[in-house]
């Protein structure tokens, strides 16, 4: 298993390099000008100087290697310096600078990360906690009313995109319900809000309900289907009959024997879904005006902020590759029948 993990880890390096190159090419080969958004009064010579200082006149390979160096060598060192207070000699080196804000790209990303992780993480947790019991029960009572309803709700969860379910809950809970009512919920997520006492915690909880629920609906739809299918596969196995025959209680059969075996594929699906949920968060953040990574990406795209777009897209790619690896390794660890070596 260890050799497999190491081999896969080594394989991710060319994959990531290739993806970073594709992203780099798409962004760079496009006919967009980093000085296009500057005021028209700037004379052409100065404009040319600005382009030179941004490094866009150098050959593409030089730009690509420079970006790689900044992303993989300089930024990790700066993070280490910040964490442990070391001095790794990063002083004076040129960091990746955002065109729009003129501040280092990674600093902005570190600022936005907590908001996204907080909302997305809670939603994922809530989604899983709702999905797995639903999956277990609808498999156990296959074709019952509960199962039919579960199937329908997950179908709806698949079909209603977050930009509509988000708008719908805003209409219901923020517009139609009067502001002074107990059920009223704020439609805009206030990220400057700090939790200090019970009242502020209550506010934080209330403002998180809608974005978390919208994201959780999609997660629940997917995972409950998987949990159900996987439970159904296992419920008809011979070992279940054996367990029943030797007198294990029904509860023990379902919750111990069947559940443990059927959670193996579900766990991998959960791992595989994590990068996808960041993609879904782009839209949800836009609906509820959470200033997280997704919103940063949208603003960067609209402003033609090439370094920011490139770095953010690449971070999303790293997440996908990483969690694919995690899913494969988990699968091997949990299921002794699967051996990759």
């Amino acid at each position: 298993m260890l050799t497999y993990t190491i081999r896969r880890l080594i394989l991710t390096v060319p994959t990531l390099l290739f993806i970073s190159f594709v992203i780099f090419l798409i962004v760079k080969l496009s006919p967009s000008d980093p000085t296009a958004n500057l005021p028209l009064t700037i004379p052409p010579e100065v404009r040319e100087k600005i382009r030179e200082s941004l490094g866009v006149n150098q050959p593409l390979t030089v730009q690509y290697l420079l970006w790689l160096k900044q992303f993989f060598w300089l930024e990790p060192r700066i993070v280490l310096e910040g964490w442990f207070g070391w001095d790794l000699g990063t002083e004076g080196e040129i960091r990746l600078i955002s065109y729009q804000t003129r501040s280092p790209v990674m600093d902005l990303i570190w600022q936005r990360m907590p908001q996204t992780l907080w909302v997305v993480g809670t939603a994922y947790l809530v989604g899983i906690l709702i999905a797995i019991p639903i999956g277990i029960y609808s498999a156990y009572k296959q074709y019952s009313v509960f199962d039919q309803a579960g199937t329908f709700i997950s179908m709806v969860g698949f079909s209603v995109p977050p930009f509509f379910s988000g708008v719908l809950v805003i209409v219901i809970f923020s517009v139609l319900i009067p502001t002074d009512s107990f059920w009223w919920l704020p439609s805009i997520y206030d990220t400057t809000h700090e939790v200090v006492d019970w009242e502020s915690f209550k506010f934080q909880f209330r403002q998180m309900i809608m974005p978390v629920m919208v994201l959780a609906l999609q997660i629940t739809a997917q995972i409950s289907r998987f949990a159900r299918a996987s439970m159904l596969d296992n419920l008809n196995q011979d070992y279940v009959r054996t367990a029943r025959a030797k007198g294990v209680r029904e509860r023990g059969v379902v919750m111990k024997h069947v559940l443990r075996n059927s959670m193996i594929p579900v766990v991998t699906v959960i791992a595989l879904g994590i990068p996808g949920i960041f993609g879904g968060a782009i839209i949800t953040e836009q609906v509820f005006k959470v200033n997280g990574l997704g919103q940063l990406l949208i603003i960067a795209i609209q402003g033609g902020d090439v370094p920011m777009v490139q770095t953010l897209t690449f971070i999303f790619a790293i997440l996908i590759v990483l969690f694919n690896l995690v899913a494969d390794v988990l699968y091997g660890l949990l299921d002794p029948r699967i051996r990759y070596d």
């Binding site: 994959t15 509509f164 517009v175 139609l176 609209q302 897209t313």
Partner: protein, 302 residues
């Protein structure tokens, strides 16, 4: 001569008749197909029958609620919302269908080639894996933002965005089809009829078109139906994020985005297009579900 055997009297039932018979037993799929074709006809024929135009500005009757004259109300410029939803649906469905078609052709081509030729398998499947590792939504946003101007200049603002959107969605959603098709082709290759075809000297091209393609048609059809759903959602998401068609050109996603600006005063304006997107996708998903069951010979005829 007159007394024929009973088998001959019955007309031969084709495979597709069986598929339809099975499809009919799936209630959800039947309702889904009905709703989908209703929406399809509505957006295709509706604008010809409806007296209001989607772009005519009538400032006197602006911001109206639902009434008999305007069943979905009017927007801030007095344009009839029903007319706009119908025209918007045309674009959304056209993008969905065309993008699905491109993804399908690409996916089938790559899947068949990878399954049929062993020497291509490794390369093509690595390519598929790489595409699966790309962050699609961010990448789509980037592609559309970057190439919008160039294509708009060449094909006009609407045509350019349409081409861009369709191709961008198409080349980022073929991977699932390719994987399924490859798997099926690999198992088909081991069957006796392939050996028989090979033994009478069938060339590779005809092997693929005569023996492989008809046999992988069912997974292709299922992924086509589900592909429409994802393509419509993707298009609406892009339009919703403001990176779709130009502002005066209605699509469902765009109408939803415009509606959210007036959410406090006129919430119904965002509900209509959103409802249409959800209804279409839901019906397509149900259709795909039924089709999967109907095309599966293990379930059919039971």
């Amino acid at each position: 001569m007159t007394d024929m055997t009973p088998e001959l009297e019955k007309p031969a039932r084709s495979q597709w008749w069986d598929v339809w018979a099975q499809f009919r037993t799936h209630k959800g799929a039947l309702v889904g197909a009905f709703v989908f074709f209703l929406i399809l006809f509505g957006v295709l024929i509706g604008p010809f029958l409806w007296p209001y135009d989607a772009t005519t500005i009538d400032i006197r009757s602006r911001n109206q609620g639902p009434s008999w004259g305007h069943p979905m109300g009017t927007d801030q410029l007095g344009r009839d919302t029903l007319a706009r939803v119908m025209i918007g649906g045309r674009v959304s469905l056209a993008v969905g269908l065309t993008a699905m078609f491109i993804a399908l052709i690409l996916g089938t081509l790559i899947g068949v080639l990878a399954g049929f030729f062993k020497w291509l398998d490794g390369v093509l499947m690595r390519l598929t894996d790489l595409f699966l590792a790309l962050p699609l939504l961010p990448l789509l946003l980037v592609i559309i933002m970057l190439f919008r101007e160039t294509l708009s200049a060449r094909f006009g603002p609407e045509g350019g965005i349409f081409i861009l959107m369709v191709f961008a969605i198409g080349i980022t959603s073929w991977m699932q089809t390719a994987r399924i098709v490859r798997g099926d082709v690999l198992s088909l290759k081991e069957r006796e009829f392939m050996l028989a075809a090979r033994s009478i000297g069938t060339p590779n091209g005809r092997m693929m078109s005569r023996h492989i393609l008809p046999n992988v048609l069912s997974p292709i059809m299922v992924s086509a139906t589900l592909g429409i759903a994802t393509a419509i959602i993707t298009e609406s998401a892009l339009s919703f994020l403001g990176l779709g068609f130009p502002p005066d050109f209605p699509t469902w996603g765009r109408l939803l985005r415009d509606g959210t600006d007036f959410l406090q005063q006129y919430p119904e304006r965002a509900i209509w297009p959103g409802l249409m997107i959800s209804l279409t996708v839901l019906s397509v998903n149900y259709m795909g579900d039924g089709l999967r069951d109907a095309l599966d010979p293990r379930i059919r005829g039971r």
